[in-house]
Amino acid sequence: MNFIWETFEGMRIALAAIWANKLRSGLATLGIVIGIVTVTLMGTAIQGLNRSFLEAVSTIGADVLYVQRFSWFINSWEEWLKAEKRQRITLAQVRAVEKQMRQARAIAPFVETRRPVNYKNRRSDSVTVIGTTDQFQFTKGISVALGRYMTAPEADGGRPVCVLGSTVATNLFLIESPVGNKIRLGSQTFEVIGVLEKQGDFFGEFSSDNAVIIPLQQFITSFWHSPDFQIQVKVIDIARLDEAKEELRGILRRIRRLAPGTEDDFSIDQQEMFLSMFGRVSRTIASVGLFITGLSLFVGGIGIMNIMFVSVAERTREIGIRKAIGAKRRAILTQFLIESASICVLGGLLALAIAYPVTLLLKKQLGGAMSPTVVTIALLVSAFTGILSGFFPAWRAARLNPVDALRNE
């Protein structure tokens, strides 16, 4: 009960004191304002960074496991020869993986070859022809710019349709829209149903810009009767990539009937490189951001501590009066902590008012606007800074000897 009234009284005094010293409190809070603006901008930037990280993860395919006969990292002729002797990955094995794998969001088998492609009198040599299923758009993280991607029935069926990579489309079609027209791949004719979004050079050989995607069944009948399949498995949770990899490995060993203790006769690869690089960059940015934020909050906190010492010194006599009529240490401590926390929270609110339009202006660069989480964190941080930097002055005030305090002029 006492505590409630003391807290009310503390707030009353704190607000009255801040109001009585508007200019001083305003100046003292500047440091906090700058600190909290930094907190807000950093927080928003880091959130944006994480979001673009997750986006990058799925476009790059960092959450995808790549199964094939040849490892990506073959270092010697002997290794290559050994891999060459391995049994192929067959369609039956692909189907078994599709059925058994638990931790997969999408599974797409694919095969590829190179063929020239023609439209009327225009020609593009050496285009990658990919035979795959409808799931490929999820594992590969591609998006369609024009028309549509193939459906599941189309992937299994015999209708000759195709989806063009953006480079192929611009090479073959000058003014006309590719969708609905027919192109020739080798000796076969395919109807264009969609064009992919440009992926860019960043993805290098993984880019689908210079590719034509056709249904798996079409690929088998037109180009290659029993191809060596590759499988892309997009996992459900990137944090549990290793677990999923183990599951996949177990399934493959079982369906390829490998005796325990023997070596794998396939390879599961992943884009670890991208993941670790991206992780390193975002960690660096986050820690530099935290350091700058911490520094500016520290400076702001020192300012608040300073002004609170002044406030305590000015009101020594008042503290004496309060103690004489029965205020305990806790009551005095609370009173000054509320005062410093209020100054800082007011600073925090001011900072949010300043930072909000800035985040709107920098929406592109920051990768998003201010979120409620950031607002909450900013206010909590400012209250915490206030309490932390007000503690020493408040503690000194609470411990004042009432006789000495009353004698103070």
Binding site: W5, G326, K328, R329, R399, N401, V403
Partner: protein, 237 residues
């Protein structure tokens, strides 16, 4: 049982190499409902004694029993609670909170006692009307005269119904007429059974009391009942 019982109380201040003996082995008892004046020259230790009696300070040695409770070894927070419950202070310089109005100043001890808002307000209004300030409750200290300020202070001392009212030179900052009014108020409180201890170095102020304790150099020089007590009204004539 005595209300106040001091046994061999000493209070020494250390000033560098020098030790100042503000009080030396003082023993004193005061009963409930007594009206005591403490007199003595400047620097004799009157305020030091008042601070000890009011639990604002603790003795260097000796034992102080208030209401049968040994308070000489209590810590800061326990003393704050005793001050809140048992003591009402009236100071020479009023010591009101400058930014709060009369009502809030009087309510303050009850806030620290944890009393609910309506009860607090009612008690404060009662105390203010008891000192004749029912029509000044919303005035801040700088909107009141010296005498009115001291009345607010007295109302604040009364509001918790303490065991003792301690006043250290309550008329020191007032002109003689206003001082007389304040002394009349104390007398009235005494007549209602309050225990009052007043420090003064004006003989005419002391004459209102029933008992005068004289201090010299930190020692009690004399302690006697007043024979011809003067009523305030008579004095002002």
């Amino acid at each position: 049982m005595n209300l106040i019982r001091l046994e061999n109380i000493s209070r020494r201040y250390q000033m560098g190499a020098e030790t100042i003996h503000a009080l030396r082995d003082v023993s004193l008892t005061i009963d409930r409902s007594e009206y005591v004046a403490i007199m003595g020259p400047s620097g004799s230790g009157k305020s030091t004694l008042m601070n000890l009696l009011g639990c604002l300070d603790t003795p260097t040695s000796g034992r102080y029993e208030l209401n049968g409770v040994n308070v000489s070894e209590m810590d800061d927070n326990q003393l704050a609670e005793i001050r809140n419950r048992e003591i009402g202070f009236v100071f020479q310089t009023f010591n009101l909170l400058p930014r709060s109005n009369a009502l809030h100043n009087v309510e303050l001890p009850l806030i620290y006692a944890g009393v609910a808002a309506e009860v607090r307000r009612k008690a404060a209004l009662e105390a203010l009307s008891q000192v004749g300030l029912a029509d000044r409750i919303h005035h801040k200290p700088n909107e009141l005269s010296g005498g009115q300020r001291q009345r607010v202070a007295i109302a604040r001392a009364l509001v918790t119904s303490p065991s003792i009212i301690l006043a250290d030179e309550p008329t020191g900052n007032l002109d003689s007429n206003t001082g007389t009014e304040i002394m009349a108020l104390f007398e009235e409180l005494s007549n209602h059974g309050n225990t009052i201890i007043v420090v003064t170095h004006e003989e005419h102020v002391a004459r209102h009391a029933e008992r005068v304790v004289r201090i010299l150099d930190g020692l009690i020089a004399s302690d006697e009942q007043v024979a011809g007590r003067v009523a305030a009204e008579e004095y002002s004539k």
